[in-house]
């Protein structure tokens, strides 16, 4: 039986956005912790750490997110965990976000003038306190706009979790489409919900970017 695409179907799709938001939020939280570690390793004085972070970034930026999801999904089985799309998607997206945020934040840390670090050393601050109180607060200001920009990319990336069977916005759309067979309306609705999630963030990122470049011009 083919159902009509009505108000209920519409609401089911919109409600599925909560899983997209939850997945994005958890992946972003995990990616922030991982990204900070990767960024710090990337600017570290120790060569081995720098090489490891560079390799990590290369691999995650040089392979498709879909393959990263597949590898975590099938890899979990191999290492003796039950296959769970939720956990696989979270881990894969968090690792993906770690690599991208790590590379973005490395740029921001390096954009802080070198004299700041030297001044901190002259004041007797060791690595941890100079990072914590001098470098990172200044890098964070530069980082906000590109980080919000990446968040948009991450939200769009969560749609791929539907392919390994996690029921978020896109997968819910597919399920409704299989029942109603009105792909134009269904995927139109799905796209609109994504747009409403992402567009405000894009606008914020762009506004902060222009304000920041105006503030730092000259």
């Amino acid at each position: 039986m083919i159902r009509a695409f009505g108000w209920n179907e519409f609401l089911v799709i919109v409600a599925a956005a909560q899983w997209t938001i939850a997945l994005s939020a958890i992946a972003f939280a995990g990616g922030s912790v991982g990204g900070l570690l990767v960024a710090l390793m990337r600017v570290s004085e120790t060569r081995a750490l720098r090489l490891f972070a560079t390799g990590f970034i290369r691999v995650f930026q040089g392979t498709p997110l879909l393959m990263q999801l597949f590898l975590v999904f099938f890899g979990m089985n191999i290492f003796g965990f039950a296959i769970n799309p939720w956990i696989a998607a979270t881990i894969a997206l968090a690792l993906h976000a770690s690599a991208f945020l790590g590379e973005i934040w490395r740029g921001c840390i390096e954009a802080v003038p070198k004299g700041q670090r030297e001044a901190a050393t002259a004041l007797g601050l060791r690595y941890f306190r100079s990072m914590r109180h001098v470098i990172l607060p200044q890098a964070a200001r530069i980082a906000v706009a590109p980080t919000v920009g990446f968040l948009v990319q991450l939200i769009k990336g969560t749609s791929l979790a539907s392919i390994i069977g996690f029921t978020e916005l896109t997968r819910q759309g597919q399920i409704i489409n299989n029942a109603t067979f009105s792909p134009f309306l269904v995927f139109g609705t799905v796209a609109t919900v994504y747009f409403l999630l992402c567009w405000p963030l894009s606008l914020i990122a762009r506004r902060m970017e222009t304000r920041f470049s105006r503030a730092t011009a000259r």
């Binding site: 290369r58 691999v59 930026q61 040089g62 392979t63 498709p64 997110l65 879909l66 393959m67 990263q68 597949f70 590898l71 099938f74 890899g75 089985n77 191999i78 290492f79 948009v152 769009k156 990336g157 969560t158 749609s159 791929l160 539907s162 392919i163 896109t170 759309g173 597919q174 489409n177 009105s182 792909p183 134009f184 995927f187 139109g188 799905v190 796209a191 994504y194 747009f195 992402c198 567009w199 894009s202």
Partner: protein, 222 residues
Amino acid sequence: MYEFNFAPVLASFDQLLVGAWLTVRLSCAAMLIGLVVSVFCAWGKTAGPAILRHVIDGYIEIIRNTPFLVQIFFIFFGMPSLGLRLSPNSAALLALVVNFGAYGTEIIRAGIESIHKGQVEAGWALGLSRPQIFRYVVMKPALRTVYPALTSQFIYLMLNTSVVSVISADDLAAAGNDLQSATFASFEVYIAVTLIYLALSVGFSALFYALEKAAFKYPLGR
């Protein structure tokens, strides 16, 4: 402990290489057509009438704020109800072109805007024709300025093509899916596929770097 078994993957490695070739071909076709779309839209955004500018702005915002997967579903499953029925491969190419066009437009536009007005006026003063000015005074230096951004967008496009396998278009990821269902060695197959993607992106980065050295070696005037 799990025993890794790469033998079936190595035995059918040629299938994956065929898939890789399809991915390269699809990416290059999408990039070339997408560049034409980008140059047209960038021209429309900088010099076109207001209505065209708004249409192009809308196109860019919609594409950049929705997932590629949804775009390809919309084109492949949604367009037939508007009378546009496409094979999986053509739908994949169309979706990639539409997607790349939006990102490419912004990149090319930034390049065009980096050309100082005085350059164009100097072109007029030297008696160049309008197409000559567009080609030599605007596009060539603009492309040089945005070349790094364009190449990284190409790499991004190539990695994105893996998604077209979900509408059963032919590419490397689809070759991996086929091999996976024939051998059941999922992890090994996807490790191999991922490594091929990595090799492709590293290879293309190196190629683009060499091309940059060859194509833009004339001196930069400041």
